[in-house]
């Protein structure tokens, strides 16, 4: 029982991070119908920016943890969203209106490019920083098993919940959100109604990158170890989460992320750590067999 609760905590933490990245996939898919393979690498870039930033702050002698965390979050989000913007502008915008697969291939090219750029400029070695948020609460002990809730886990879940609230507000209440949803439904019509579609798409990429940047900072805080290859694994997982939840659905992306985080945590704890990814993908295939549009996806009506 105690260990189940522990895995629940670990799974939710991991799932929050996947969910944040998955939103970037699902938003981009919703608005231009492409799988953005470079998104995982944007997340990886953000983790590197976070490491640089933490190291700079430590050198500057800022020892207050909340202050450091806020500064790093702000800086990383700002830089990473510029990365998101540039990626869209250079690799995807010129391909708008061509075949569906053309931007997919250029996103694979962009993913290779970003990985190797980081490898060349930041080095191929693993970077590790000292733990920033230490300690935690021992919830209770039963059967000799200690249920531990780390402060970093609390922060990750809190930041995710807060971001989701802001994000939901942004999409449902603001004029940008309305424009974004309008472009998602019918880009041509939105254009005719005077919405700047290019700008909306650019902003969508920037928001997706910003959420990935938050995930990148949180992962740096949680594990403290990154390398240039982390984007691939996290990207695939987050994309799976987006599809599991129903691609194009924002709550679905978060739900999918949580489900995948939980599957991973439980499978690794009780069955086998090596096969946890096999479990994730098998469950994805099973879910899609019975719910072909994902957990929260709306069934698509095809019109002739």
């Amino acid at each position: 029982m105690a260990s189940i609760i522990q895995q629940l905590i670990n799974g939710l933490t991991l799932g929050s991070i996947y969910g944040l990245i998955a939103i970037g996939y699902t938003m981009v898919y919703g608005i231009i119908g492409m799988i953005n393979f470079a998104h995982g690498d944007i997340y990886m870039v953000s983790a590197f920016i976070a490491v640089t930033c933490f190291t700079l702050l430590a050198a500057a002698g800022i020892s207050s943890v909340p202050l450091a965390l806020l500064i790093v979050l702000a800086v990383t989000v700002a830089f990473t969203s510029v990365f998101g913007w540039s990626v869209e502008r250079t690799a995807y915008r010129p391909l708008r209106g061509s075949t569906r697969l053309a931007p997919l291939i250029s996103s694979i090219g962009m993913s290779i490019f970003l990985q190797n750029m980081v490898q060349v400029t930041q080095g191929a070695r693993v970077k590790s920083i000292p733990p920033i948020i230490t300690g935690g609460i021992d919830l209770f002990t039963r059967d000799g098993f200690n249920v531990h809730l780390a402060y970093s886990q609390i922060i990750i879940v809190m930041v995710t919940v807060a971001l989701m609230a802001v994000f939901t507000w942004l999409i449902t209440q603001t004029s940008f959100g309305r424009q974004q949803r309008a472009c998602e439904q019918d880009r041509t019509m939105a254009m005719l109604l005077g919405i700047d579609v290019d700008r909306t798409i650019s902003l969508t990429f920037m928001i997706g990158a910003a959420l990935a940047a938050v995930a990148g900072v949180l992962v740096t805080v949680y594990y403290g170890v990154i390398d240039f290859y982390i984007g691939f694994g996290a990207g695939i997982k987050a994309f799976t989460a987006a599809v599991l939840g129903g691609i194009g659905s924002l709550p679905g992306a978060m739900l999918g992320g949580l489900v995948i985080g939980l599957i991973e945590a439980f499978w690794a704890a009780y069955l086998s750590a090596e096969y946890k990814d096999v479990a994730t993908f098998s469950i994805l295939i099973l879910v899609l067999m019975f719910r072909p549009n994902g957990l929260l996806g709306r069934p698509e009506v095809e019109k002739v």
């Binding site: 590197f48 190291t55 997919l104 691939f232 994805l284």
Partner: protein, 437 residues
């Protein structure tokens, strides 16, 4: 307004402002990546700055943008002038057709492929690289059936390649099967895996299929890494027997009475003979694949593939069993991937899960899309580009893959439809009779 009326020449101030904006973006992107870097010092990280490098990067972006805009504007202007000239002309010159050129290009390439080992017989590197190109050509033609013809996005094609390779490796090392015996078995096994994956998932919409196939590719790879008793785990399987020439092995003549290739034909033994033999073997396999696929395209099922790609609902309305047709394309593509895998294992003599990662799938998909989906010749051109680029890039060492990624984006932006955009349908409606004047 600029979109509607012919582009006005930009003033120098506008050009500078545009380039300045790009330089600013480059600066923002460059600061965390180029300007700052963390270096391991003892047991903690310290930040190093590289200001001169950052400045060089920003300046390069500024000048590069100026030059790019200038040449693009010149190009656009010349195009407008040419169009205006053509409009003024009363007699229209028919646009030159590129089709005969493309047709001849295929035969030229075939001719070149046939004589290549004879011209470079002393140069093992060239023949080896050409063999790699041909493996990708064969994989590209296999995936072309799935993606280019049937329009199913498969991101885990490398799984079938792996199934073929491991099937041959296990059959030959454990049961002593030969290359030609294993070939159909491994191909059939790969096709079976294709059916097993396709049957439950092919009713999904295109992009859902993409993630499912990607997941399947990862599942196969993880199993190969972890199921050590079967696959040898990360160490892979070594000393896989090489194919022989109708039972004549390629090896140095020995005293134990084994008839070797060199001995049988009275040639001087040289290790290059096997390389050349492998080259012709994959050329043969690839050509058979091509012949097979082009023939299949003329059969009803092949036409149904292309019809489904164009309009699935219309196909359903016409009574085509969509699932069966998709399954056939999927299984056929898987089988061809498996056959290429058998050759790969036989050529390398050693396989490990590292050869079957997602980036391989991505490369094969890129070959199909870059080539121009559905075009057989385009696959050849794209394989040449994508295999030779990293080879040429070896001089750039660590920048090799960086430039490779950049090239992929540039080619896609330059030709969004692929290198050979023209998509020839397998059949054409007969031209309507022309009314006599």
């Amino acid at each position: 307004m600029r979109a509607i009326f012919p582009r006005q020449a930009l003033s120098i101030a506008e050009r500078l402002r545009d380039a300045g904006w790009i330089a600013f973006v480059a600066l923002v992107l460059g600061v965390p990546m180029i300007g700052l870097t963390t270096v391991d010092a003892g047991n903690k990280l310290v930040v190093h700055t590289r200001l001169p490098l950052l400045m060089e990067f920003v300046a390069a972006c500024f000048l590069g943008r100026l030059a790019l805009r200038f040449s693009l504007d010149k190009f656009a202007q010349r195009k407008i002038e040419r169009q205006a000239q053509e409009a003024r002309r009363t007699v229209q010159i028919p646009a030159r057709s590129t089709l005969p050129l493309i047709k001849w290009l295929g035969w030229w390439l075939l001719g070149a492929a046939l004589v290549l080992p004879l011209m470079f017989s002393g140069n093992r590197y060239v023949v080896d690289t050409a063999t790699t190109v041909l493996i990708y050509v064969m994989l590209g033609w296999g995936l072309n059936v799935v993606v280019g013809l049937a329009g199913l996005l498969d991101l885990g094609y490398v799984a079938f390649y792996a199934v073929g390779a491991y099937a041959y490796a296990l059959l030959s090392t454990q049961f002593g099967w030969g290359f030609w015996q294993s070939l159909p078995v491994a191909g059939g096994l790969a096709a079976f895996f294709g059916l097993a994956l396709g049957w439950p998932t092919l009713r999904l919409r295109g992009d859902y299929l993409a993630i499912v196939t990607l997941g399947f590719g990862e599942i196969i790879r993880i199993i190969l890494v972890n199921w050590t008793e079967l696959s040898g785990g990360p160490n892979g399987i070594a000393s896989i027997p090489r194919p022989s020439f109708f039972g004549l092995p390629f090896q140095a003549p020995s005293d134990d009475g084994v008839q070797t290739f060199a001995g049988f034909f009275g040639l001087e033994y040289s290790p290059g003979q096997r390389v050349i033999f492998l080259y012709y073997l994959i050329l043969l396999l690839a050509l058979l694949t091509n012949l097979f696929v082009t023939r299949m395209r003329r059969l009803p099922v092949g036409r149904a593939w292309e019809a489904i790609r164009e309009d699935e609902i219309a196909c359903k309305a016409l009574g085509i069993n969509v699932v069966t047709v998709k399954l056939s394309a999927f299984a056929l593509g898987a089988m061809l991937g498996g056959l290429a895998g058998v050759f790969f294992a036989a050529r390398q003599g050693f396989i490990s899960p590292e050869s079957f990662v997602f980036s391989e799938s991505a490369t094969i998909l890129a070959i199909v899309v870059l080539g121009g989906m559905g075009s057989q010749l385009g696959v050849v051109l794209a394989s040449l580009v994508l295999v030779l680029l990293p080879e040429i890039g070896r001089d750039f060492a660590e920048y090799r893959m960086l430039l490779f990624g950049m090239a992929m984006i540039l080619i896609m932006v330059w030709r969004p439809g692929g290198l050979l955009v023209r998509r020839e349908p397998a059949i054409m409606a007969p031209a309507p009779m022309q009314a006599r004047p």
